[in-house]
Amino acid sequence: MAQSDVTGRPNADTVEASTDNYLTQVFAVAAAEVQKLYHDPIELLTRAVQPVLWLMLFGEVMARVRGVAPGGIPYLDFLAAGILAQSALFVAIFYGISAIWERDLGILQRYLVSPAPRSALVAGKAMSAGVRGLSQTFIVYLLALLLGVGVSLDPFHISGVVAVIILGSALFSTLSLIIACIVKTRERFMGIGQVITMPIFFASNAIYPLSLMPNWLRGVSHINPLTYEVDALRALMLANVESEYGLIFDTSVLAGVTILLVAIASKMYARMAY
C-alpha cells in the first residue's frame, strides 16, 4: 500500500546486509529442494531400492567370504558404511542432469538474473544434494539396524555422519554440475555419468579394503575423495571401528576439494545460459 512500492524506483534500502543475504540465498536454493521432496516423497522410496539390493544381495553373499573386511569386523558392517557413501554418491553424481533440465526449462535463467552471486547459487545446489543425501542416510540407517549391523547411535557420531554426508554430497554434486556445464545436453551427460560413477565407486574402499587392491589401483583410490568419505563414515557410523586416516584429515580433504569445485563451478555455471 505504501506509495514507495508503486513507483519504479529501486528500493536498495530494504535489502539486507550482504553476508546475511548470501547465506539466505544459499539456504533458499536448498529449502526449495526440501519442499520438493516433501511434495513428492515417492522418489525417496524408489531411491531406497538400490541400497536394499546391495546390502541384502551382494552383502549377504560376500559376508560368507572370510577375511574381506579388516580387523575382524563383520563384512555386512564394513559394507553398510560403504553403501551409505555409495547411495549418496549416486544421487549426487546425477545432479548435473537436473541443472541441464532447469536450463532447458528456463528455471536456470531465473536464478541467473537474480542478484544472488553465482557461488551462492552453486553452493545452494550443493546443499540441495546434501539434503537428498541425508534422506538416503535415513534409509540406510534403518536398513542397517534391521540387518543387525553394529550401528553407533551416539548423537555425536550421528551428527558427524550428517556433516560428512552433506560434505560428500556437495562435493560430488558440484563435480556433476561442472560436467553438466561442459557437456550441456542430457543425452551426453547420461553416458558420462555412468562412465565416471563406476571408477569412483570401485576405486575406493566402499566395498572392499584398499589392502586387497593391486598397487596401481590403490594409488588411484588414494586420490579418490570417496575413499576419505567412506573412511570417515565407517568410523562414525559403526560402534567400534577406528578411522584409518583420521577424521580431521578425511573431512579436510572433503572440504578442501568441495571448496575448489564450487569455485570452479561458479565460474562455469553462468555459461550454461548462453
Binding site: G8, A32, G106
Partner: protein, 277 residues
Amino acid sequence: MSEQGQSTVRDGVVVETKALTRKFGNFAAVDDVSLRVKQGEIFGLIGPNGAGKSTLIKMLTTLLPSTSGSATIAGFDVILQPAEVRRHIGYVPQLLSADGSLTGFENLLLSARLYGIPRRERRERIERALARMGLAEVAHHLAGQYSGGMLRRLEIAQSLLHRPAVLFLDEPTVGLDPAARETVWQRVLELRDRFRRTMIVTSHHLEEINEFCDRIAMIDRGRIAATGTPVELKSRVGPDATLDDVFMRLTTATSETEAEGSYGAVRRNRQAERRHG
C-alpha cells in the same frame, strides 16, 4: 552514464544501448544496436526468428556478455555492474521459469529470498503479489497443476516481487488462448499505468504489439530496421498498412541457419508452448 552514480536516470531514459554487438564466431547475432527506452514505456521488440531479439534481451538481462558496445539499465552498466542491473530488472523468459514441483507460494518465496527481501516483509509481499495476479486461491497448489495463463501470471509475479525498474517479457503470450493472452496484457498495462514500470516485450503476435506497445523496434539480421510508434511505422508503408505489412516490407524473414531458427531452439520453444498451453 557513469557520472550518474546511483540509479538516477537522465531524461527518463531507463534503458540505453550504444552500438551493442554480440558475435558468435563471425556471425553478428546483434549488430550495432542503439536504443533508448523511457520510463513507463511498453517497448516492443519484433522481428523474424533468429533476428537477434533473444540475444539482445540476454545481454540486457546480464545472461550473455556483449562483444562490443555498451548498455545501461537504470544508469547501471550491464557489464561493469551486473549485480546492480540484476537488482533493477525483472525477467520473464520465453521458457518456463516457474518450478512445477513447487507451489505458487514457494516459487515466490524462493524469489523473495534470492532477491534479499527482508524476512518480515516476505509473506505480505508474496500474498499481495499473488492476489494482484489472481492466484490467491491456488497459492498452495503445485505450479505444475496450473494452466498456461496462471503460470505466466505466476512468473510475472515472481519477476515483480523486488519491484524492478524494468521488466523484460520474452513472448509472454506464446501458447496461450485468447482469454489468457488478454489477461496477461491487462496486467502489463496496469503495471505501466498504475506503477510506471518500464517493459520490454517481444511477441510474434503483431496485432498485440500494435495494440499495446507505445514504441517498437523492428530488428532484422541483428540490426535495427526501424523504430517508432506503431502509427509512425505503419504510415511509412502506406495509409492502410498493418504492422504485418511493415514487418514484411522491412525484414527479410528468411532465417534457416541462425540461432533462433535452429532445430534445438524450435524444439525448446515448442516444449515451452506445450507446457504453457
